[in-house]
Symmetry: C2
Subunit: 327 residues, 2 copies
Amino acid sequence: MKINQIGEFGLIDLIKKKVFSKDKQVIVNLGDDAAVIKSSPDRLLIFTTDTLVERIHFDLDYFTFEEIGWKAMAANLSDVAAMGGLPKYALVTVGLPPSIQSEEVLSIYKGMSQIAQKYNCKIIGGDTTLVQKDLFVSIALLGEVESEFLTTRSGAKEGDLICVTGELGETQAGLEYLKKHGRKNLSLVRKHLRSLPRIHEARILAKNLKINSMIDISDGLSSELFHLTEESGLGAVIYEEQIPISPKCVKLANLMNRSPLSYALTSGEEYELLFTIDKKDKTKLDRINKKVKFSVIGEMVDRRSGVNLIRSSGKVRELKKTGFVHF
Amino acid sequence: MKINQIGEFGLIDLIKKKVFSKDKQVIVNLGDDAAVIKSSPDRLLIFTTDTLVERIHFDLDYFTFEEIGWKAMAANLSDVAAMGGLPKYALVTVGLPPSIQSEEVLSIYKGMSQIAQKYNCKIIGGDTTLVQKDLFVSIALLGEVESEFLTTRSGAKEGDLICVTGELGETQAGLEYLKKHGRKNLSLVRKHLRSLPRIHEARILAKNLKINSMIDISDGLSSELFHLTEESGLGAVIYEEQIPISPKCVKLANLMNRSPLSYALTSGEEYELLFTIDKKDKTKLDRINKKVKFSVIGEMVDRRSGVNLIRSSGKVRELKKTGFVHF
């Protein structure tokens, strides 16, 4: 079967079953945002990789080289945030078409360095290779997390509150605006161009709460919510009224005559954190709301109920795994 | 300047100067085969990445998908061997064109798994992405080495003996034969298709000798010799008579009417180890010759003498950095 028929998730399932190794030192592997390796009794290594490919994840018509470097690093840093950890070291591989200028290559590295430095992550090596056509940037990142602060996708419990940091919708709306109108109105699309991973927020959450499950929103709220329910064998219900839609998303949606809610549900590369906690911990959550902006958007329910959105009208809409999927 | 003018090494120099971070926990970084991070007082993490791209490093006309997976993993494992370490965990990224079949993707993973298992390295995750055209495989690998056994490119001393494991020339000759004649005579080209990294040999060398400098031959003997001299600020002289040319290389060279010596000097993906030791340690070296096949091929000399090959005729030939260069 061709892989554009089987899809990325189908392929990952196949690979998971047939290829990936079990190891008692490896606590978490494929199926989560990153692999987690026990390196000492109380210290875990986070090992993750993420790749951006021209004409698949970005287009040089409306992104600068610096922004591409930034994006590639942001995706990797966000995987570490999702595990509750701190990024440490990165290896960077760039696949370079023959026509690229050395200044452009340095711009890619500059974008990566800028965001890596913000989170105290060091680029310590990598690989460069020629490609015939499409530029790509692939990063492998090492991070660390204390055993007690590790957060994973699985572990949500029935009755858990579903929470999300920040505001949603802006990056996908920004991308569509960029595609349609180019770089005319950069302030409106900044979140897409310079996404920030929620490293600090994840640390505050992990240190102050018992996080039952957590994931970063790289493929859209709907899609990530499906991952959480699948990994925990549960269903979920979220409420339209409680979904924090970014004002810029609303503005962009209006400009393009689109639905802000739809953006909020499918917007990828948000890098906001979606997490669940026990209902009892709600007061603890409220206590950190000066440090971390968050919204409670629903709760985990029995698997048989499926994954549903309660519209403001009261109508129930069954959610589909319609976040941004690369295949 | 376009990168096909500046070249891979020029670009790496630029990136090295402008981008890469210093960190007191990072003992070795760009410029060696892998980055080395101090993770505990006596234990070092080896962190490396290597990528193969279709139409740059391989061609689907004469390689199977399984062989491509194998090759990609071999290159990474060999980087760990060059540092005297043991591979532990790998993350694998594959860039997949839309036309590829899922069985073909699994074959890539099968090739990677086969060789990884030989060296007790576990594939624990990674990333899959669509690409418009050219397949690529990028691997990030974590390994370990005890501080006392770490071997690096720099540290060769004037007067050091230059040694190489195994026999040379066969993989490059095999590749050219494959390109010209296809897969007709697989036994002759097996070393190219199923290269083995010298993990065990490196461990024996590191445990039994004081290795002053070491590198794996991924871009050809000439090229790697230049790396060693540059990193140590020295020159080198090697002797044609002492270069161990593989009998299959001689056979292939004869079939194609080419020079076996030229293959031995430029053959990439050999994954044999090139290393230097103090002359005094020659007897120690001889003692391990039942466990590790090696040849002493020359010695490190003053920088001003350059890098020279003494032909069997006695003539001196100045060597060029003519190993396989990707740009």
